[in-house]
């Protein structure tokens, strides 16, 4: 299996989908300049630079999607999505429903986000939960090159508007991608590591923190399962609940802030539907409710790190030993 970077995985997905379907096109600020090889292959009509105007870029994508094209737009950094919020949320997300199903909006809006480059708060905000909270949208945030490629291909083929977030810190990471470009379906989480004592649920760069934490936990004879959500909407409830029923201990880890974040939703799902399986309260490790700092040590402190995950996992495993909790039998899953 070839080893490719996330950047390259994204390029492969775009190129393969544009070869497959002439309705796919891509535009944004600097897209044609940065992807000149694609301009050469597909022509200036399908790979376009745009004026510096995120609202009209997203609106144009929505209008084109409603009438026969399948646009991908690159909106650069996630805080810039604020300028495109109206078009994404009010138009792309709502107009299918409002029209009684007459129109659909097959489009992808891409943005970079996350700590790692010290770009500071106006280039970095993990605002993915805003879109999760808006009807009619799908939200994807991969962690591996293979998923970047497979999920982007799936997003382009999807009939709905998809927000596709690239964690800045992963952009130049490399990994294996199955030859032939396998599609990764939207809405399916991946179990990255099997384990029995505790489940670490995450997405994007913190999946890798969870993997490191799981290794260290193994040294202490704690078996940690790691789940990569990959798609935040639709959320793979089944995989989350199976994990809760299997290990009874859940830690959700993400860089986005805690309040009303994806972790809050995961914790609620587990509390509502697998309460009886829990051996300890669900724990969230998240970034603080603060603008993202630029200074390297502060930025690193912003992100949940493996040590903190290890500590939280140990606490959860010890929880039953220090606090009296009633362990109800799990009727849902006999394991």
């Amino acid at each position: 299996m070839p080893n490719v970077s996330v950047q390259e995985a994204i390029s492969q997905a775009l190129t393969e989908e544009m070869r497959r379907d002439p309705r796919v096109l891509i535009f944004g600020e600097g897209v044609a300049t940065k992807r000149y090889d694609m301009v050469k292959e597909f022509g200036a009509q399908r790979v376009r630079n745009t004026p510096l105007a995120e609202g009209i870029i997203a609106g144009t994508a929505a209008g084109a999607a409603a009438t026969g094209l399948r646009p991908v737009v690159d909106l650069l950094f996630s805080p810039f999505l604020c300028f495109a919020m109206e078009e994404i949320v009010n138009s792309a997300g709502k107009l299918r429903y409002i029209s009684g199903g007459q129109f659909s909006f097959p489009m992808v809006a891409m943005a970079l986000t996350g700590a790692g480059w010290g770009v500071g708060a106006q280039h970095n905000q993990n605002n993915e939960a805003w879109f999760v909270h808006s009807p009619g949208l799908k939200v994807v945030m991969p962690s591996t090159p293979a998923d970047f490629k497979g999920l982007l291909k799936a997003a382009i083929r999807d009939e709905n508007p998809v927000l596709f977030f690239t964690d800045i810190a992963l952009a130049f990471e490399s990994g294996e991608i199955p030859a032939g470009g396998e599609i990764v379906p939207l809405g399916k989480a991946a179990v990255r590591r099997e384990g029995t004592d505790v489940t670490l649920i995450s997405y994007a760069k913190t999946v890798h923190s969870c993997m490191k934490a799981a290794e260290r936990l193994a040294e202490r004879e704690i078996s940690a399962q790691v789940i990569d959500l990959r798609t935040l909407k639709p959320l793979d409830e089944e995989t989350i609940l199976n994990a809760a029923r299997k290990t009874g201990r859940i830690i959700v880890v993400h860089e986005a802030s805690r309040m009303c974040g994806v972790g809050a939703e995961v914790a609620s799902i587990v509390a509502e539907k697998a309460f009886a399986s829990l051996k300890a309260p669900v724990k969230r490790l998240t970034g603080p409710d603060a603008p993202a700092p630029a200074s390297f040590p502060l930025e690193q402190a912003f992100v949940p790190q493996p040590d903190a995950i290890v500590e939280a996992a140990v606490q959860l495993v010890e929880y039953g030993q220090t606090v009296a909790v009633r362990n109800l039998p799990d009727v849902a899953v006999a394991k």
């Binding site: 009209i56 144009t60 929505a62 084109a64 409603a66 094209l69 138009s91 409002i98 009684g100």
Partner: protein, 324 residues
């Protein structure tokens, strides 16, 4: 109620008859006046602006696509939308064009090429370039007509839209219905210019301002404008200068509107003007006009009966058609 007024591509150079323009305006007026009469007051009507809708929409071809704003009933009716299904939509009935999920403010009719009624002021302007991009990229002959108000022209996305359409040579006919009001704010309070067409010129878009209360003038200008967009495959900006004779919505009593300004515009009522012209020129007799009025009234009565007797959507519809 089969009122398909959409013209086919073959007769696109043909002008609508003065009588057809009059009847369309009458139907729009009758439909909109019926709404408050039957207790629907949370609705934005285009009373006094019918010439803009009739004159422009009759200049479009069947393959053209339309985007419009919250004051869209005139555009829909002129395009041949069934007033019964429109009213059903306004009432939230399942027989409405959007199955009751739109209400008055967002009616789209895919079969008639009406892609969007946006009630986000400027939403129509933000989607129009993409719709035109589809026409361009998929090599479809149709153009895109985008209706919006003078208020929308003060939104940032108006400027983004015009600039992109000009640069990308997008086949958009922008129609700014400058009705002097932006909800409860007079246009004068929001801009230094009287004519938004002057802004379009700065983006390199050919533009024209027309008396929006003269349907003959609007229709002639719109035919020229649509033809330019169709052949040159680039945008054109048509400003129909008119006045909103009713409140922002029907529930609004206009108490804040200057009486003299209102009276001056009332004297320019487009339906009265067209009726007088047609009778004066001998195109129709007073009796023909009376017959037209009767026909329109009966269309609206059937619409009311249809919408009134239509069922509400099943509650299971609440969460359908969110995702494709």
């Amino acid at each position: 109620m089969d009122r398909q007024r959409v013209r086919t591509g073959t007769d696109e150079t043909q002008a609508a008859t003065p009588a057809a323009l009059l009847e369309t305006m009458m139907l729009i007026r009758a439909y909109e006046l019926k709404l408050p009469e039957i207790g629907i007051k949370m609705v934005c009507t285009s009373v006094g602006q019918e010439a803009s809708a009739a004159g422009v929409v009759h200049a479009l071809a069947a393959e053209d696509l339309i985007l419009t704003n919250h004051r869209s009933a005139g555009h829909l009716i002129a395009r041949g939308a069934d007033p019964g299904r429109m009213l059903a939509e306004v009432m939230g009935k399942s027989t409405g064009y959007c199955k009751g999920k739109s209400g008055t403010l967002h009616i789209s009719v895919k079969d008639l090429g009406i892609v969007l009624t946006s009630t986000i002021v400027g939403g129509e302007l933000s989607l129009a370039p993409g719709v035109a991009l589809s026409q361009q990229q998929l090599e479809r002959p149709g153009i895109v007509a985008c209706f919006f108000g003078d208020g929308a022209a003060t939104e940032g996305v108006f400027h983004e839209s015009l600039n992109l359409a000009a640069k990308w040579n997008l086949p958009i006919l922008y129609i700014c219905e400058n009705n002097q009001w932006q909800a409860y704010v007079h246009r004068r309070e929001t801009m230094l210019t009287d004519h938004i067409s002057t802004w379009a010129a700065k983006y390199g878009i050919e533009s024209l301002t027309v008396d929006g209360n003269d349907v003959t003038a609007v229709h002639a200008a719109a035919r020229v404008a649509a033809d330019k967009v169709r052949t040159a495959r680039k945008p054109f900006f048509l400003e129909t200068y008119t006045f909103r004779m009713h409140g922002h919505m029907e529930a609004d009593d206009l108490s804040y509107v200057d009486r003299e300004e209102l009276a001056a515009w009332a004297a320019k009522d487009p339906i009265q003007r067209q009726t007088e012209r047609i009778v004066r020129e001998g195109l129709l007799s007073a009796e023909d006009v009376a017959q037209m009025e009767t026909r329109v009234r009966s269309t609206i009565e059937s619409a009311v009966a249809f919408a009134g007797s239509s069922p509400y959507p099943e509650l299971s519809e609440l969460t359908t058609e969110i995702y494709a």
